[in-house]
Structure formats: structure tokens, C-alpha cells
Symmetry: C2
Subunit: 339 residues, 2 copies
DNA sequence: CTGTTAGCGCGTTCAT
DNA sequence: ATGAACGCGCTAACAG
């Protein structure tokens, strides 16, 4: 078993040319004959040559690698985002280093240092729950490494770009969808108002009603933790207390499913009598309740978009750019009832 | 904004010592005074120094990075495996490069070349569906890069290690579990016999029956594609055709859930009259049917185990080792019915 | 079109 | 304990 790997010098020696010519040939430079190019490539294959990117990267001062920091890889939203990122990166010939903060600030800090040491060409970040101050993330721009947030962002001095989901618009569109289907009295299942996402979704719901001249009724907003059982209970309660409810916009999918189960139990037919839309970015709801209409934005699309933006920023590193914020439009998916 | 990053030479100059001393200090060598060590570290922090790992790695001919090849990152099993891998790697100070083959052989081949060029210190692979011959994976060992398969493996000449789930044992234990609960007549929902996993699960089921002196009844094995609807139909059919069925071992979770739904519909109480175990390594079934007993091995554990084995092989690269196969024992999870 | 030279930033000899 | 010098493998700059 041979120890050292073959270098350009060996293939240069074998061909009795200079190593720089070999280098050029391997890089498909146009300053080299087709003939020698062919000879070099042949010899390289024959010797099982693999370019040493450690050396190449050092010389070019560029790692051809982007770093990705997420709280948890195994969460479906993040794993699909990473899938999108990897596809974009692969297409551009970049590598992807994956790091998970596990929702911890200290770990996130050490990841930042490590990525800088690895001289990544850019970074995609979805911050941990402990991250409020983005001080440690400033190191990236201090080292001239472009950074793009996706989904979970935080404020950092300097230029930073982000790709987000428009919760308010999503809620707006979901509600409009229900109105267009003929709903007059639409219930909203909302979540804890401490969270930005639920506040925004409530806002979008209100906006939609207003835009269509429907007056907002506080009674029709039920706040819960949005578990399946909550949806079940909420729809039961609202139907007892109110006449003529014909639509539900749920701030997540599980509560929507609970409501559907309740309605099925009492013999209502979905979605003819009561139309339901659930906010979702997991595929789970589709499996549990194939007839549920959902509104969401896939992690995959966000990942791809963020990665694209990052590459743009890498390419234009030198030109001074301002904050870029891409807000992705949600997608409403109405599935056929399989029942 | 300064362009070039600070190097050991700059901090050496600032301290009026030699760069090699700085290098030693930063590497915590014992051949350097505590005092100078302190001064160097201080200065390094002050100048915002980050070691250039491109250079360091080149010099040491070692990238401190492992490569991971999976068919699809967004599949839950793989994303949790990657999560486990990342945690182990982080603990050892290694980076993880993620690559997805998207079930394609050509893409897998080009990933292999790329990882070799990046001089990864080791590789974890779960092969694509198109990969039957592992010829391209031989490149790894030719380049002295340890390789460990997890979950999906294939034959490669030379030494290669793998970490797998013991499907047969899992099925055996699931069936034994049912017998211990008092079941006398256990149905098996099986899948396409072209797939190794379903063959092995059937084998384990048979073994368990045999070991407990229960005779195998071909009538009690129903083969389908194991969708929810299949489970629903299968249990209906079996209950019509057979008296006294009191247990079901399903080769996956969706069919088990279908069966539970059917039984709920006809008013049976689970799990008192008919006990059901579904094979599963997705968390989805838990959400859909919280009372379902499952047997599986998590991707997370497999990832951690495989990564550990890889590090072992990296550490002992020079000593000649033989094939290592780790077969993980499945875990049976019996949940309380929430209904 | 090709060869020569130099150096990316670091770690590791040798000296002292 | 520190300094001087070299080289990891490759590419860029300059000749010719």
C-alpha cells in the first residue's frame, strides 16, 4: 500500500513537462495544447490522481465550502432546508459543512470560530433559541465572510441578509381563500401571543377580514397550545356557542386535524359545510389527514433561496451592498379528499 | 476593512519573537514558556486571529473532516443519523461535510471523487438505490480513507465496516412481546418479498413462533405494500376469515395504524383485545396513533455508532483490521394509550 | 504555448 | 526554550 498520494509533480515527471503545465491542463486552462491536455488527463487517471484541494484552497485562499448552522438537523424543516442548500451548493461545486447549535449559544459561538478557521466562503444561519444578541456572528463580517440568515434571524450590526417566511401574508391568503370559497363566519385557532409567528398570523387573519368588509369578532379567535386535542375542543366549543360558523383558519396543522376529527365524528362532511385551512410546514399533516388544505412554505425552497442569495453575496463580496431581505410567499395546497 | 487575515507572523512580529514559537504556543506545546504562551494567546485574541486551517491541514496532511453520503438528507431516518454523526464529530473536533446522492449512482461517484480531493479523514456512507456494485467506493480505501457503511451497505473488496439494524431480531422480539402479552394467534403484515428487510422480518416472526412452540400458519401472513389502507383491508379480511386472532405484528407502522383505525371503527378496544406492534423508525406514527407499540432503532443511534466506529478506524488506520459489522439491537417502545 | 520562480500559512525539523 | 530554514501541493506572475 502506497502512502503518499500522487501529485502533479509526479505526473509532470512522467510526461517530462513542468508541473505548472500539468496544473494548467488539469484546470482546463486555454493556455495549453489540447494534445498535452489529453496526455495529462490520461496520465492523471492512470495514476489515480486526485487534486489536493487542501493545497489548492490554501493557494487560492478560498475553501470552496459554505457553512450551515442550524439548531437541530433532525427537525424536518431544517433537514429539508439543508437538502435544498446541498443541491444548490453541489450544482456550484461547493461543499457544505453542517453544524448544529442544539439551541445553545455557547455551542453556536464555538461553531462560528471553527467556521472562520476553516475559511468558509460564506455562511447560512438559523440561530438558536438562546441567541438574542448576534455579537458572535459579527466575527463573520469582520473576516469578510458573507452571512445569510434563514427562518430564524437576529440583529447584527453591519450588512446581513435574510430569507424569511411571511407569516402575516400566509394568514392573509389562507383567510382570503376561505372567503373566496364562500365562508362568511371564519374562526381562527391561534397560539401563544408571546410568539411572533402567532401574532403575525392573527394580524394577517384580521387584515383579510377587513379587506373583504367582514367585521372582526374577538369571540371567533380561540387561543390554545394548538395540539390536536385543542382543535378538537375548540371546534366543539365554538359550534355550541355560535351559529353559522362555516370556516376555520388554524395557526397550525395539528389543531386543524383535531377539528376535522371532531367534525367527522358528528357526521359533518369536510370541506362542504365547514372549510378548514391549517398552517403547516411539516408533511405529517398530509399523512394524517390527506384532505386538509394547508398553507406553508417548504424548508427546501427556503434553503435553496437562501443559498442562492449567499452565492450572490459571495460573488459580490467587494461591492458594498445593503441589507437584503427576501420574504417568501407561502403556498396554499388544497388536496383532494381521499375519503 | 482590512483584506488579509492576521497570521502567526504578524503576532510574532508584534511580540518580537519567531513565528515558530507562536505556532508552538498556539498548539499548546510543552516546549514553550507559560509566560510567552500567555502573551501569544492574548495578542492573538486582540488581533482577532483565527488559525488558517487550510494551511494547517495541508501541512499535517489531514483535513480534520469526515464526509457523509446519504441518499436524501430530508428523510427523517437520515437526518437523525446525521444529527448523531454531527454530535460525535463535534465532540472530537471534526467537521462534517454532507453530500446527498439523491439515489443516483453518477452523483454518488462524483461525490466520492470530491471527498477524496478534499482529503477527508474518513467517510460514512449509506448507498443510493442505484448502487449495486461498490466499485467507485474502492477509491476510498485505495486512498487510505476509512469507510463505514450505515443502514444501506453494499459489497466492496477489501476491509469495510458496517452498522446495521437487525431486522430479524427486531421482528423476533416484537413477536415475542406479543406472545408474552398472551397472544396465541398472531397475524403478520408483510411487505414485498423482493426486499431484504421484509424477508428478514418474516424470518424473525417465524423464529419467534417456533421458539414458543406455536405452529406457523401461512394464512396469517398477509403481504401488501403496507400502506394505511392495506392495513385497514388486511385486518378486516383476516377477522372475517379467521377466529381468535388476538395479535398483529406489522412490518411497518402505517399498516398497523390502518388496522387500529379499522378496529376502533368496529368498537374494539386497543390494546386489550387485539395487541398490535408496528415496525417503525419515524416519529410520525407516534403522532398519528399515540397508543401504537413500535419496534425500531433510531437513526440517531445508528449515526452515533457508525461515527464512533469510523473514528476508531481512523485512529487505527495503519494496523490491518478485518471487516467489522455492528448490528444494533432494536428497541421496543410501548406507549400508553391516550384514549 | 510552456518553463521558471515564488509564495499561500503553517508545522516541523535542525540548530543554538 | 527559542530561532532559522524548509517544504506540504498547488497556482499565479513573469519570462520567453
Amino acid at each position: 500500500m502506497k502512502k503518499r498520494k500522487t501529485t502533479i509533480h509526479e505526473i509532470a515527471k512522467a510526461l517530462e513537462i513542468d508541473s505548472s503545465t500539468v496544473s494548467r491542463a488539469l484546470n482546463n486552462s486555454n493556455r495549453v495544447t489540447q494534445k498535452t491536455k489529453g496526455k495529462v488527463l490520461l496520465k492523471a487517471k492512470k495514476l489515480g490522481y486526485h487534486r489536493n484541494l487542501l493545497a489548492s484552497n490554501l493557494r487560492k485562499n478560498k475553501s470552496n465550502t459554505i457553512g450551515v448552522i442550524v439548531p437541530r438537523i433532525s427537525r424536518h424543516f431544517f433537514s429539508s432546508a439543508i437538502a435544498g442548500i446541498e443541491e444548490m451548493a453541489f450544482a456550484k461545486g461547493y461543499n457544505v459543512i453542517i453544524c448544529q447549535s442544539l439551541e445553545g449559544l455557547e455551542r453556536e459561538k464555538s461553531i462560528v470560530d471553527n467556521l472562520i478557521s476553516n475559511r468558509v466562503d460564506g455562511v447560512l444561519v438559523s440561530v438558536s433559541m438562546e441567541t438574542e444578541d448576534g455579537g458572535h456572528l459579527k466575527h463573520f463580517e469582520q473576516n469578510n465572510i458573507p452571512l445569510v440568515f434563514f427562518d430564524r434571524h437576529c440583529e447584527v450590526l453591519g450588512n446581513n441578509s435574510k430569507v424569511l417566511i411571511d407569516d402575516e401574508l400566509a394568514a392573509y391568503e389562507a383567510t382570503i381563500h376561505l372567503i373566496n370559497k364562500g365562508c362568511k363566519k371564519i374562526v381562527h385557532f391561534s397560539g401563544p401571543q408571546t410568539l411572533e409567528i402567532y401574532k403575525n398570523r392573527l394580524k394577517g387573519y384580521k387584515e383579510a377580514l377587513k379587506s373583504q368588509g367582514i367585521s372582526f369578532d374577538r369571540e371567533l379567535v380561540i387561543t390554545s397550545r394548538l395540539m390536536e386535542q385543542d382543535g378538537y375542543n375548540s371546534i366543539e366549543k365554538i359550534l355550541n356557542d355560535n351559529e353559522g360558523v362555516d370556516g376555520v383558519f388554524s395557526a397550525n396543522d395539528m389543531a386543524a386535524i383535531g377539528a376535522i376529527k371532531y367534525l367527522k365524528g358528528i357526521g359533518k362532511i369536510i370541506p362542504d359545510e365547514i372549510a378548514i385551512v391549517g398552517f403547516s410546514n411539516e408533511p405529517m399533516s398530509e399523512v394524517i389527514e390527506p384532505s386538509l388544505t394547508t398553507i406553508d412554505q417548504s424548508g427546501y425552497e427556503i434553503g435553496k433561496t437562501a443559498c442562492n442569495l449567499l452565492f450572490y453575496n459571495i460573488a459580490n463580496k467587494d461591492v458594498k451592498t445593503k441589507h437584503q431581505t427576501v420574504i417568501l410567499k407561502p403556498i396554499l395546497i388544497e388536496r383532494e379528499s381521499s375519503l
